[in-house]
Symmetry: D2
Subunit: 361 residues, 4 copies
């Protein structure tokens, strides 16, 4: 089988680098185009990231020699690839317009950006939870008069550490009413140079601009449904988030206290639900789908970011410390790899889903 | 004025070292006796802590030449000091017995240990909150047939980062019904050698044995009252705690979500209450009392442990990020210095209170 | 081909865990026996390391169910494996005796320990440098009246970051007279619990017991030769070492200043020598041999431990910053992965060499 | 006595903040003027550093209300202060010109900057070493036709960890011929935001632009002398430096190997020289002079940055691990506080010397 050619917009940044690293030897996709800001354009990719390549593996040979395109110029991408991963940065309004230009030109855009998360008809995907949200795509195309192009996004990285396990409980019939969540998030989430080391040696920072709002709001769309060809948010769940930056390279940890509706599972029932949980990505055997999306660790002091973030290629959520909560019903600790599951890996899984379901052709 | 002579039990450990550091040049107290386990006994203090002195100031000259006594032998302390700070470690039952032997011999024991926190008639003090709990001491002495000796304890270090601000609100007439608390605690809390560096480089540990139980239970006694010469716990407040270890030297951070009773203050009212809060230690101008017990920082990303833990000699609690909570009423971040306010400094403040009120003579 | 069965002595410690992790799916060897101290003996391996497994991959299924043997009892190993990797800890004299018992019983012992590094007739191997030192083995067997068993050791992990590049220059005909070396070593080198976090948050420790002596002495044996069936040390090279512990998980960095004899290569000649260097492990295509043993990085600020330690499965040495030295001739920075190349990975490469050359049958 | 009024140029940066912190309650000097770049000018100091104040003490009240001046406009400073500390950043040529304008206008400039370190007739001071270099100032004034103004600078922070102890040996009659130095430098040296945390979590960086050159060159001027009213460098000492950035907040560590001339002291003689070393700042009892400029620690694993950097208000150099060197004569580890002794504290000591000797009036 010939591989699908794919472009990376924002290829020189940290998320872009992760896409390139993770797509090396991908069974379905092949990076054929890289684009970045005008001042990288025209250089070889190797030259463009010289001194800025942050991955611990080398730049794949075939990508290092690609000539970097100008991400603002859609025409340069046409003909070189069938769809694009977007990891461009900068002003949200500009990002929105740029991604729409690609979609208009017939390119599916699998975006890592927050810019279109609130846009009507744009699905925000965690494939194990809301894979059926891709069915909105024809509405999106119709509304914009787009032909083959469209936009899908992934949610904020902080959600990945707890939303899948929470969804598994909801799907099993247990309503979740309220959650208080405190995250301990890795510095890679802020890119490079990102967080100053003076803030992260002998210190933590109890604040990240916009992070708590996203953590509180985005789950409502993801857990929502399509009614009359429109998204309807799930407003029945209340979330309060405290987001902290901690001196960890990769891996976001979440401490979760959770209140169920009137029907309450036992701790053993919860563990069983998590153990048995699987979804469409697993059934379709998508290459980046973790075999077991939720891994429960029985050790008393796990999950821990450095030791558990790489579980199942960094795509599984690891959970531990499920116990009774003195205020709500239960509490637990969740962990996911923010630059794999929470960024490039999650985007690749989205693209695999779209390809498997025929949206990317 | 001649200074009161004081002994340190467990003087070679980290809390003991902090007592010695903080008592250098104390206006009222003077270290005249140090005791530790039998295998340190008989050495000079300098020799006994050789290679283990963790403070960034030098051993005070007058203490370095003291001969270390055997903490298990009360007789060695008699005549050398008027009261003792206890920072002995080991088996809880043994600690309980040892501290009682000192009290029986006529020595007030100001303990840093958790061993007697649940013991009937033993006050667990945060002087700004429950200074009046020292009035139980005559009952304690009567019940044990002790003459001048008695035992007081301080609570777990994790409480200090949020309980005083919460108490200030209660005292101002706002009932607090429920709290979800997540702590990010410093490694010094585990002593030396304590937490392995392999757990604290590029990592956090979402578990500390017994810490969550203490964080949930101890406030009930501290916020309780004396009725019919007995402590009655405050059972009306529900607390759920998640305790995490993070790579910070000193300073415990707490993320707090809080639900009031029917009467709810505004954010501005809360800040005003905190700003104006003061208590007996401030009125008595105790040497270790912070001038302002609760310091509110308006910067959006504070408090931070390295930058704020030393506020007012490390004895103040710093608070920031007060905001609405989507699940409860309000949320905020609190910070206190765990080895100062939360350990030796807190113990010294307790002793100052007891001396000022005539319990230590 | 049927795989060679191998035992791990000291299997529950950190080096033992690394052996088990790295040998999963090894093309030639298969772990069939694990042994540790008497108080682990009798348990399944999974149970024996419960709460102590430090690897980021799971315990291989086939090893987790093995019953842990008593490492002190050679009889338990007999029949279960063809040779052993020794990672036992404790008293040097006891280790020496234990390893000799295995050799006496007919077991080749590939040791990670320092105990036998100074023992006559025991080769201390870095296969790219002194693979021919294995020719001493028949002498060792003769002297001890051993039949099939023997002992080989690997050197201290600090050497790996610079000795291969230095050897490459010597082999190319440039005498090396003097070296001043400063290492910045990772905490994993001290095992678990190892270095306390209070020493590694906002701190470095400029001392490691015995490390400087090993760094200065062991190269003389490795760079020596066999004459009249005995090792003769290379005494012509003088080394001075400063060894520091830094807050890095894995990866030892070495800053090297080096003085040549009268014949001095240019910087370009040195880079060419390193680029072209290869040795017997590469020729034999041993599974753990790095394709290119010495990788030179042109980026101005490399190598860096987290970003470069995994080069070529963690088995390559990465070098950077080659430049003129104002005191000697040249200086450079070297890096190697201390728990892979410098410990278990190095041991496996030694075993592969011994197997390929017929010493392990 | 009325205090001398002093201005801080570059007052909002990290070095400027340290000046303001350290000058609070200074017995001789009082901050009366602060200046920074045009976009801070016109604001109160408190407002100008809002969100950027990195000190762990609060902004001194009297400084917080000062209106920030434009550092490029000398006229604003005139009449407000008697001399200035310069901590301005940016282009070296611009800095040189700006500092000269202040000197021309009659202001002594005590600079923290590297811009004028190589300028003829500008003394680069470590007062314990080369206090007599201030005698060049009249020549500087004459050459520039300046009246009361002049410029003095301090050397790079990396020197402070070892040059005073080396000078003490030279002064005692032992020629020092060669030194190989490896530094492990703190992140505060790069200011804020400075070094990215992704480079400092589980990592070190073996490179700092320009640092090695300064470490090798600046000692020659400092150890030089004035002949015929000109500086003559000490070219007899050869230095090779390896400079590394490590995850430490404050405190530069240096590992030093040192070769003497033909006359070689014993280890005990060296310790005695260091113990007894004192110089003009000690004799003049300058407020910021450490009582004992060189403190030798006998503990086997010291000095360590977090534990020893604050020795004598952060102004002493701590030394440890003096031992024989296998390549040269001796080796040792030195430590100094880079933002106190190595920056603002060192600048203040320079100003104290100049005031005590009548150069600042």
């Amino acid at each position: 089988m010939e591989k699908i050619k794919v472009g990376i917009l924002g290829a020189t940044g940290m998320v872009g680098q992760n896409y390139i690293r993770l797509l090396e030897n991908h069974p379905w996709f092949e990076v054929s185009y890289v684009a970045a800001s005008p001042n990288s354009a025209g250089k070889t990719y190797e030259k463009a990231v010289s001194g800025r390549w942050q991955m611990s593996t080398k730049i794949p040979k075939n990508v290092s020699i690609l000539i970097v395109g100008n991400a603002n110029n859609v025409d340069e991408a046409l003909g070189t690839c069938r769809f694009v991963f977007s990891a461009i940065g900068g002003d949200k309004q500009v990002i929105r317009e740029t991604e729409k230009l690609y979609a208009k030109a017939g390119m599916p855009v699998v975006s890592n950006n927050s810019a279109h998360r609130k846009t009507e008809n744009v699905p925000m995907l965690i494939p194990e939870i809301n894979h059926q949200h891709i069915e909105i795509i024809p509405e999106q195309q119709k509304a914009n008069s787009w032909n083959k192009g469209f936009i899908v996004v992934k949610p904020n990285c902080s959600l990945q550490s707890y939303l899948t396990p929470v969804y598994a409980l909801i799907q099993a019939g247990y309503q979740v009413k309220r959650m208080v969540i405190t995250t301990l998030q890795a510095v890679s989430g802020a890119g490079y140079p990102g967080v100053p080391s003076l803030d992260m040696v002998d210190n933590i920072v109890p604040y990240m601009g916009g992070e708590e709002e996203k953590t509180e709001e985005e789950p409502k769309k993801i857990l929502g449904k399509i009614e009359n060809k429109k998204f309807v948010k799930n407003e029945s769940i209340k979330i309060s988030a405290h987001c902290n930056r901690v001196p960890v390279v990769d891996g976001h940890t979440a401490c979760v206290s959770l209140e169920f509706g009137s029907k309450k599972p036992t701790l053993d029932q919860i563990k069983k639900i998590w153990l048995e949980f699987h979804s469409l990505p697993q059934e379709l055997k998508l290459p980046f789908a973790p075999e077991q999306p939720i891994v429960y660790l029985e050790e008393i002091d796990r999950p821990q970011p450095r030791k558990d973030r790489d579980m199942d290629k960094g795509m599984a959520v690891t959970i531990g410390r499920l116990r009774e909560c003195k205020v709500f019903d239960v509490k637990f600790v969740g962990l996911s790899h923010n630059t794999v599951r929470g960024a490039a890996g999650g985007g690749i899984l989205n693209a695999e889903l779209l390809y498997a379901k025929g949206y990317i052709k």
